[in-house]
């Protein structure tokens, strides 16, 4: 087990370094100056600006500085556009928002997805099964940037129940629509995965034994079938997490929730490279750590896997 974790870590660490390097190479290969507005500032102003942000240093020095700052001080440097804020400030402001609705979306997707999948599998080949599968296929193929406008149309414009955007410190009525829009397609995928793996488990020998012992059906499902059926779902959680973080770019943009996705897109339009880099690296690192956790968890839970 420990060798397995160690081996995974030896892949994870270089991956993070490669990610930082790619972002850095992309940034210095950018044509033009990040300080270019309508036109370039006068040369002496440019020189001062470049000195302030360390851009007058040779590339290798900039790279080493950036790397040491990011790794040892968790410092992504100053923002190129907001003079009074660092990238860390921006992340500190946006990340809790993203984390809040991301967390709820995750919970909603897992609980409802597993629930629907198990129900469909127990009632295999009944109208309930067909309805669940149809519903899952339908919502799986609707991307969140289509879901968001539809939700706003229904709940804000027609029914007038929920505000069409904003965050306001994360009150429940501002969270509902982002969570629905973000979780729909993952909920659908989880439901389909759960259904098929549950069907497989229900056909296996140990379930027949449990039934033959005369256990009530609810106990067979909860005590015997659920755990092995959920293993494939566990391995889907990694991709789901990535998808939700990426999806937050859309959610922030559409609902103006003010998460890191919104800052990312805004800095993309402002050519604020340092903020973009910081967010990319943060998201990438989180993804790698999360995937690592899921894999370790998987190896720990599934007795069939030996490392």
């Amino acid at each position: 087990m420990f060798t397995y974790i160690a081996r995974r870590l030896t892949v994870a660490v270089p991956t993070i370094l490669i990610l930082i390097t790619i972002s850095f190479v992309l940034m210095w290969s950018a044509p033009g100056s990040p300080f270019m507005g309508e036109k370039l500032p006068p040369p002496e102003v440019m020189a001062n600006l470049e000195a302030k942000y360390g851009l007058d240093q040779p590339y290798w020095k900039q790279y080493v500085d950036y790397l040491t700052n990011v790794i040892f001080h968790f410092d992504f440097g100053p923002s190129f556009k907001f003079k009074d804020r660092t990238v860390n400030d921006i992340i500190a402001q946006g990340f809790p928002v993203t984390l809040t609705y991301g967390f709820w979306s995750f919970i909603v997707a897992v609980i409802f997805g597993v629930g629907l999948g198990v129900t469909a599998a127990i009632r295999h080949n009944t109208w309930l099964d067909y309805l669940s599968v149809g519903f899952a296929i339908g919502s799986q193929s609707i991307p969140n940037y289509v879901m968001a406008p539809i939700l706003v149309l229904v709940f804000t414009l027609w029914l007038g129940w929920l505000p069409g955007g904003g965050w306001e410190g994360g009150t429940w009525d501002h969270i509902i629509m982002p969570v629905i829009a973000l979780s729909t397609s993952y909920f659908a995928s989880i439901a389909r995965i759960t259904r098929s793996s549950m069907l497989e488990v229900l056909n296996s020998g140990f379930i027949r034994t449990a039934k033959a012992k005369g256990l009530p059906m609810s106990r067979v499902i909860l005590k015997h079938a659920l755990k092995p059926a959920l293993l494939p779902v566990l391995s889907y959680l990694g991709p789901a997490f990535v998808g939700m973080v990426t999806g937050s770019v859309i959610i922030d943009q559409y609902f103006s929730t003010g998460g890191i996705g919104q800052f990312f897109v805004n800095s993309a339009f402002n050519r604020d490279y340092s903020t973009m880099m910081g967010i990319t690296i943060l998201v990438g690192t989180l993804t790698i750590i999360f995937n690592l956790l899921v894999d370790v968890l998987y190896a720990w839970i599934d007795p069939k896997i030996r490392y």
Partner: protein
């Protein structure tokens, strides 16, 4: 004593007719595919959409960038779909013809998907087959590289690339092509591992065929089934990735358009009652996605020998 000649001839004819036509994997797959109603339906829809994207522009009354000044500022009231003024799908918020724009957007979206998928087929197949065939340390290094590339949040890096090197459709193709082959490489490698132990590969090695000729002549043709399936299933994913980027306004640039860009523009106008601006692009978007998914699923059922 002898049976007469005509009888012999008719008998020979009958045996000739009774000779069973050989069933190859592909003809077998074709019959299975034809029996799958959802897949055939998907194929019909797909062909219809392709024809729409290719030939739709011959029926348009306006070009995709011409502005109908008569509608200016009153699009939500009088810009709806109508046959009389030539805007079959209505007009967009600037008074441009939505029909022409949907034709163009559908074409671009499908092109992004198909080109990305072709890159995946070429690069992914060769890469995966090479890694799988040589095995050992080469395989290890090649596949660890894929692992590393896969764990990079590609959407964020793609946006970073688009911003830094300029937003253009070429950049979009490059960016999507860069990642689309990773999954394909993994799948192909796995298949190659089983194929390379078959007798015909052993025979080829024994007669001294060079490794790359073996990969191209003996391994890749045997991978075609699975490659075709995953290439088809990859297309909807790539179309969604493109529309994601275009939705953020970072993809295709005006006056060119794609379905994602049209949906984004439409979702803003929907609130003013111009429903057609989101309805038509969304319809073609979802129809394309569904069609590709159904055709891909059908191909998998037809070609994948596991699920018979």
């Amino acid at each position: 004593m002898y049976p007469d000649k005509t009888k012999m001839e008719s008998l020979a004819e009958a045996t000739n007719l009774a000779e069973v036509k050989g069933r190859s994997l592909w003809s077998d797959a074709r019959t299975r595919f034809a029996r799958n109603k959802a897949a055939v339906g998907g194929l019909v829809v797909l062909i219809a959409i392709l024809l729409f994207a290719l030939l739709g522009s011959f029926f348009q009354a306006w070009t995709y960038e011409a502005i109908d000044w008569k509608l200016m500022g009153r699009v939500a009231q009088i810009g709806g779909p109508s046959v009389e003024n030539g805007h079959y799908f209505g007009a967009d918020e600037l008074g441009r013809d939505l029909y022409a724009r949907v034709v163009q957007g559908t074409g671009i979206s499908i092109m992004v998907g198909v080109v990305g998928s072709l890159v995946a087929v070429i690069v992914g197949t060769l890469y995966g087959a090479t890694a799988g065939f040589f095995g050992g340390r080469i395989d290890n290094i090649m596949m660890r590289t894929v692992d590393v590339l896969m764990s990079i949040p590609f959407m964020f890096v793609l946006i970073l690339m688009l911003v830094i090197w300029g937003r253009s459709i070429t950049m979009l193709f490059v960016g999507i092509g860069l990642i689309s082959w990773l999954d394909m490489a993994r799948i192909v490698r796995g298949q190659t591992l089983t194929i390379k132990n078959k007798e015909f590969v052993e025979a080829a090695i024994a007669v001294g065929v060079s490794p790359f000729t073996i990969i191209l002549r003996h391994i890749v043709p045997n991978l075609l089934g699975i490659v075709v399936v995953y290439a088809t299933l990859l297309i909807p994913g790539l179309i969604m990735a493109e529309s994601f980027i275009s939705f953020l306004g970072l993809g295709v640039q005006e006056p060119m358009t794609s379905l994602g860009a049209l949906i984004q523009a439409g979702s803003k106008q929907m609130l003013y009652g111009a429903w057609w601006q989101i309805a038509f692009p969304l319809f073609f978007f979802l129809a394309t996605l569904f069609a590709f998914t159904f055709v891909g699923d059908g191909l998998r059922d037809a070609l994948d020998p596991k699920d018979r």
